[in-house]
Amino acid sequence: MATHDPGTKSVPLSITEDEAAVYDRQIRLWGLEAQQRMRNATILVVRLKGVATEAIKNIVLAGIGKLIVVDPDDVAEEDLGAGFFFRDEDVGKKRTDAAKSRIESLNPLVAVETLSDPSVLHGEALDKLLAGVDMVCVTDLDRSTLVRLNDASRRLGKPFYAGGTYGLLGYIFCDLLQHDYIAPDRSSQKDAAKNVRNTAVYVPLKTALQHRWTGMTRRQTKELNPAIVFTILAVWEYQVVHQGELPDDPAAASELQSIANRFISEADVNKQTLPSIPRELMETMATTAAHELSPVCAVVGGLLAQDILKALAAREPPIANFFTFDGNLGGGTVVRMSMP
C-alpha cells in the first residue's frame, strides 16, 4: 500500500459504520480517507519508555492497523514514572510482556505484536522486520543506533521517526525519504484555505548532523532556540564517549559544556545569538538527562504520534526535520538540518 500517495488513486474504503462512529470526532478533522490510510498501516516502535508509551497510546487510539513493539529490557522501577502501561507488580518482567494487553485494551481494532529478542534489530532479521512495516519509530536510543536503524529503514524504503526525552528537554527527528502530501495553504489567512500539493525531500540523520548554521541572521537563529538543539546534540555525543551511558552526575556538566561549545563553533552558529552554551543548562542536563518526566513525554509523544499520523495520511506538513522541545518554558521549534 502506498503510505504517502496523496490520493491520486483513492484508497478502498473498508471502515465500517460502527468504526466510523468510534472515530467520529477525528474523522471530522482529517477525513475518512486519512482514517482509512491509518487503518491500513503497520507501525514499528522500538523501545518502550516514556515517549514510546505516549506515542503508542496516541496512534493506537487513532486506529492504526497494526503495532509492532520491540524492547528487550525489563521493567525498571523508574519506568513507573512515565510508563503508564506498567504497574508496581510488573517490575522485573519484560516490558513488552507487561504492556501488551494494556495496549490492546486501548483499542481492540488494532493488532498488537510484541518482540523482546534483541537480535531482531540486527542483520537479516532486521531487514525482514522492516520489510513488513509501513513506518519505523525508534525512541530513547543513542545516536549510533539511530543512524544504523535510519540507514536500514532508508535502504528498505521505509519512512523513519526518532524521538526521545532528556529531563525537561525532548526531540523528534524524521527522515521521510521523498514525501508527497497535501496541505491547506494557510499563509493567505482567508477563510477557505486551498489545498496545495507539496513534496518534501528528506535526508538521513548522518547527513542532517553535518548541518551548518552559516548565514542565518540573529533573529532567524534565535527563533530556533539553538541552545536546546546543541544541548541534545551534546548529550548524544556524551553517550557515544561513555559507552551509551547518559550523564547522571553534576560533574558531567563541564564535559557537556565543552562538547556543546565545540559543536556550536563547528556548526558556525551566529556568535551574537549564541556565543556559548549557558552553563546553567549544562548543569541541569548533567543531573536530569537520564530521567523521565511524564509531562515532557506527553508533549513529545503527542507531537511524535501526531506527525506519524500526518505522514500516514499524507495530509498536513510533517516536521522537517529536527524538532526540539524546551519543557522549562514550553516552546518547541523545528530546525531544517541539511534539508534541500
Binding site: T8, S10, P295
Partner: protein, 606 residues
C-alpha cells in the same frame, strides 16, 4: 468515576476524589476553592470557565486554563495580580442570528439548520409555549412590524398542526397524514404568506413554495431566476481524493428518477466513487422529502407513546433526521445548497473535531506550567500555544499584566460567612464597609449593591436593606458586588459562605472577613455595572511584582488578543427560554491569529 479509577492505577500513592457534579453548584463556594493549592481546568464552555476564573480570583488560588480544537490548543496560567485573568481579555460571544434571517430571509445553510432545530422542532415537538413573547421582543428591537405581524399569524397556525401530530394515526395511505400537513404548512402555506410581502423580495430572490405531491412524483421543478450562493466556501476547500462529505451539493432541480443523480460541485466525491459514510451522501429533494415524512412520523409516534416533548439531540437519530430534512427542504425553497446528514450533525450539534494527540500535548503543557505555579517560579510561567507554524509548532509567550480595567480580577474579593436566613443586607454591607463601629475613614461612601446583574440597593433605594439575604435569593456560592457610586474605589466582590460547622446555634449570624477588605482607589471612574468592560489593548509589558525573581528576557511578548465581542447585529434568536444552544461546546482560543477552521473538513458555525 471511570477516569479516577483508570488514573489511580498509574500511581496508587495519589489520592483521587471523583465528584460527579456541576462546578457551579453552591457547595463549591470560595472556601471550597481555597482548599486547593492549584486548579486545572478541562472545561468546554465559556460560562463555566468564567465561573471558575472568578472563584479562583476570589479564593486567590492559581489556575491553569486551557483549550483544544482540532490540531490547535493553548495553555494559560492564571495568577491573581501577576497575570491576566481569563476575563482580562474579552472573548468572542457565541454567534446568534437575527430573528428575521432565521424566520423569513435565510441565505446560508446554517440559517435553515438553526430554523429547523430551534424553531420548527420546538414548535412542533417542544413545549406548548407562547412564542409571541420573542416576536414582541423583536418588534421592540425595531424589526419590521409587517414582517412580525406575518410571523404572528404563522405561529397561530402551528397550534392546529401540533394537534394533528398528537392525534391518533389516521388510516394508512392517508393523503392528509400529519407529516404532509406539517409540510404543507411550513414549506408551502407559510412561504406563500411571506411572498405576499412584496417589499421583502424587492432586492432578494424570493423563496419558492414546495409541492409535496409533485416532489414525491418527481415532477417538481424549482423555477429559480438565479442561484443563490451556488458554491459555498467549503466547496473550494475539498481535498482531492477525499470523500469527506458533500458540502455545496446543488439541490435537484428537476425531479427525475428516484432521488439519484444529484449534481455535486465537489470533484472529490466523484473521484472517490461512492466512497464515504452513509451519512455523508448528498440528499436529493426527494430524499429529503421522504426523510422528512419518515422522521416526522417517528417523532409523532413517540409523542403519542407518551413523550411529552422532544428536543434536538445530535445523538437522537429521529431528531437529527428531522432537522436534516427540514433544513434541506427549506434550503431548496430558498435556493440555498443543502447539507449531508453528516454535516448537519456537526453544525446543529456544535461538534468540535477532537484528536487524542492535541489533548495529550496540552495536558503535558498544563502540568509543566502547573509545576512552575506550585514552585512559585513565576518568571518561568508562559502562555503556550500549539500552532500551525512549521518552524515553531509550540509557542511560549511571556505573561501579560492584568488589565487595569478588568471587571473581574481588579475587584477586591472577600468572604462573609453567615446564615442567609437570618442576616440582613444592611448588616452585611455596613459590616463589610466598616460602618458598624468606627468612623468613616477610607473607602466608598455611597454604594450600590448587586447580586450578579440584579440591583439590590442603591443610594436612592434602600427598600431591601432590612430583608434577609435568603429572601433576596442571595445564598451560598453567590457574590454580592458592592460598587462605589462615585467610581473612586474598586468594587468589592463579597462571596457568601456558610457559618463554620462548630458555630454555636445562638451565635452571631454573620462573621465578617478579618481584616475588612480595603478597596484601592481606581485610576479612573468606572460605570456602575459589574460585567467586564472591553479593555484597551496592552502593549504586552510585564509589570514586575514585588518579590518576583529576576525577570528573564524571553521571546517577544507578542500578546495574542481574542477578537472583540462579536457584533451580534440584531435581535438574538432565542426561541425558548430554555435553549442556550450556541453556548455549549465552544472551545475558546485566546489568539487572534489562529482560527479553528483551518481544516476544510471542520465546519464552524461562528
Amino acid at each position: 468515576m471511570v477516569a479516577a479509577k483508570t488514573a489511580s492505577a498509574f500511581n496508587p500513592n495519589v489520592k483521587i476524589t471523583p465528584i460527579h457534579a456541576n462546578i457551579k453548584e453552591p457547595q463549591f463556594d470560595v472556601s471550597w476553592f481555597r482548599g486547593f493549592d492549584i486548579v486545572l481546568n478541562a472545561l468546554d464552555n465559556l460560562d463555566a470557565r468564567r465561573h471558575v476564573n472568578k472563584m479562583c480570583m476570589a479564593a486567590n488560588v492559581p489556575l491553569v486554563e486551557s483549550g483544544t480544537a482540532g490540531y490547535l490548543g493553548q495553555v494559560q496560567p492564571i495568577l491573581k495580580d501577576r497575570a491576566e485573568c481569563f476575563d482580562c481579555v474579552p472573548k468572542p460571544t457565541p454567534k446568534t442570528f437575527p430573528v428575521c434571517t432565521i424566520r423569513s430571509t435565510p441565505s446560508q445553510p446554517i440559517h435553515c439548520i438553526v430554523w429547523a432545530k430551534s424553531y420548527l422542532m420546538p414548535q412542533l415537538f417542544g413545549e406548548d409555549e407562547d412564542s409571541g413573547s420573542e416576536l414582541d421582543e423583536a418588534e421592540k428591537q425595531g424589526e419590521n412590524a409587517k414582517e412580525i405581524a406575518a410571523l404572528r399569524k404563522e405561529a397561530q397556525a402551528f397550534k392546529a398542526v401540533r394537534a394533528a401530530l398528537r392525534a391518533a394515526p389516521a388510516e394508512q395511505a392517508s393523503s392528509s397524514s400529519a407529516a404532509k400537513i406539517v409540510f404543507n404548512k411550513v414549506f408551502h402555506a407559510d412561504i406563500l404568506n411571506l411572498l405576499s410581502m412584496a417589499d421583502m423580495w424587492r432586492s432578494r430572490a424570493p423563496p419558492v413554495p414546495l409541492d409535496f405531491d409533485a416532489i414525491r412524483a418527481g415532477t417538481f421543478v424549482l423555477n429559480r431566476p438565479s442561484q443563490n450562493g451556488s458554491a459555498t466556501p467549503t466547496a473550494q476547500a475539498q481535498t482531492i481524493g477525499g470523500a469527506k462529505g458533500s458540502s455545496a451539493t446543488e439541490k435537484q432541480l428537476n425531479g427525475t428518477g428516484n432521488g439519484a443523480s444529484s449534481s455535486t460541485t465537489t470533484a472529490a466525491t466523484a473521484a472517490a466513487g461512492s466512497a464515504g459514510l452513509k451519512d455523508q451522501r448528498a440528499l436529493s429533494l426527494q430524499d429529503n422529502l421522504e426523510l422528512f415524512v419518515s422522521s416526522t412520523e417517528r417523532l409523532a409516534a413517540r409523542l403519542r407513546a407518551g413523550e411529552d416533548t422532544i428536543s434536538f439531540d445530535k445523538d437522537d437519530d429521529d431528531t437529527l433526521d428531522f432537522v436534516t430534512a427540514a433544513a434541506n427542504l427549506r434550503s431548496a425553497a430558498y435556493g440555498i445548497p443543502g447539507k449531508s446528514r453528516w454535516e448537519v450533525k456537526e453544525m446543529a450539534g456544535n461538534i468540535i473535531p477532537a484528536i487524542a494527540t492535541t489533548n495529550a500535548i496540552i495536558a503535558g503543557l498544563i502540568v509543566l506550567q502547573a509545576l512552575h505555579l506550585l514552585r512559585r517560579s513565576y518568571a518561568l510561567l508562559r502562555n503556550v500555544h500549539v500552532q500551525f507554524k512549521p518552524s515553531m509548532p509550540l509557542s511560549a509567550i511571556a505573561m501579560c499584566a492584568p488589565n487595569p480595567a478588568c471587571g473581574v480580577c481588579r475587584d477586591v474579593y472577600a468572604e462573609v460567612r453567615c446564615d442567609p436566613a437570618r442576616v440582613t443586607l444592611r448588616e452585611v454591607v455596613d459590616g463589610v464597609l466598616g460602618r458598624s463601629g468606627e468612623g468613616e475613614g477610607e473607602g466608598p461612601e455611597e454604594v450600590s449593591v448587586y447580586e450578579d446583574k440584579r440591583v439590590l440597593s442603591d443610594p436612592d433605594w434602600d427598600d431591601n436593606n432590612d430583608r434577609t439575604l435568603e429572601s433576596l435569593n442571595v445564598t451560598r456560592g453567590k457574590f454580592l458586588s458592592i460598587v462605589d457610586e462615585d467610581g473612586e474605589y474598586a468594587t468589592i466582590q463579597l462571596a457568601i459562605g456558610v457559618l463554620p460547622p462548630n458555630h454555636p446555634t445562638d451565635g452571631p449570624a454573620l462573621i465578617l472577613p478579618s481584616p475588612l477588605p480595603k478597596p484601592p482607589r481606581r485610576e479612573k471612574p468606572r460605570p456602575a455595572t459589574p460585567p467586564p468592560a472591553p479593555p484597551p489593548t496592552l502593549a504586552g509589558k510585564k509589570r514586575a511584582a514585588p518579590d518576583d525573581d529576576e525577570i528573564q528576557e524571553v521571546d517577544e511578548p507578542s500578546a495574542k488578543r481574542a477578537r472583540t465581542a462579536a457584533d451580534l447585529g440584531g435581535v438574538p434568536f432565542t426561541p425558548s427560554k430554555k435553549r442556550r444552544l450556541e453556548e455549549d461546546g465552544l472551545i475558546m482560543l485566546d489568539s487572534a491569529g489562529e482560527t479553528i477552521e483551518e481544516d476544510p473538513d471542520v465546519i464552524e458555525i461562528d
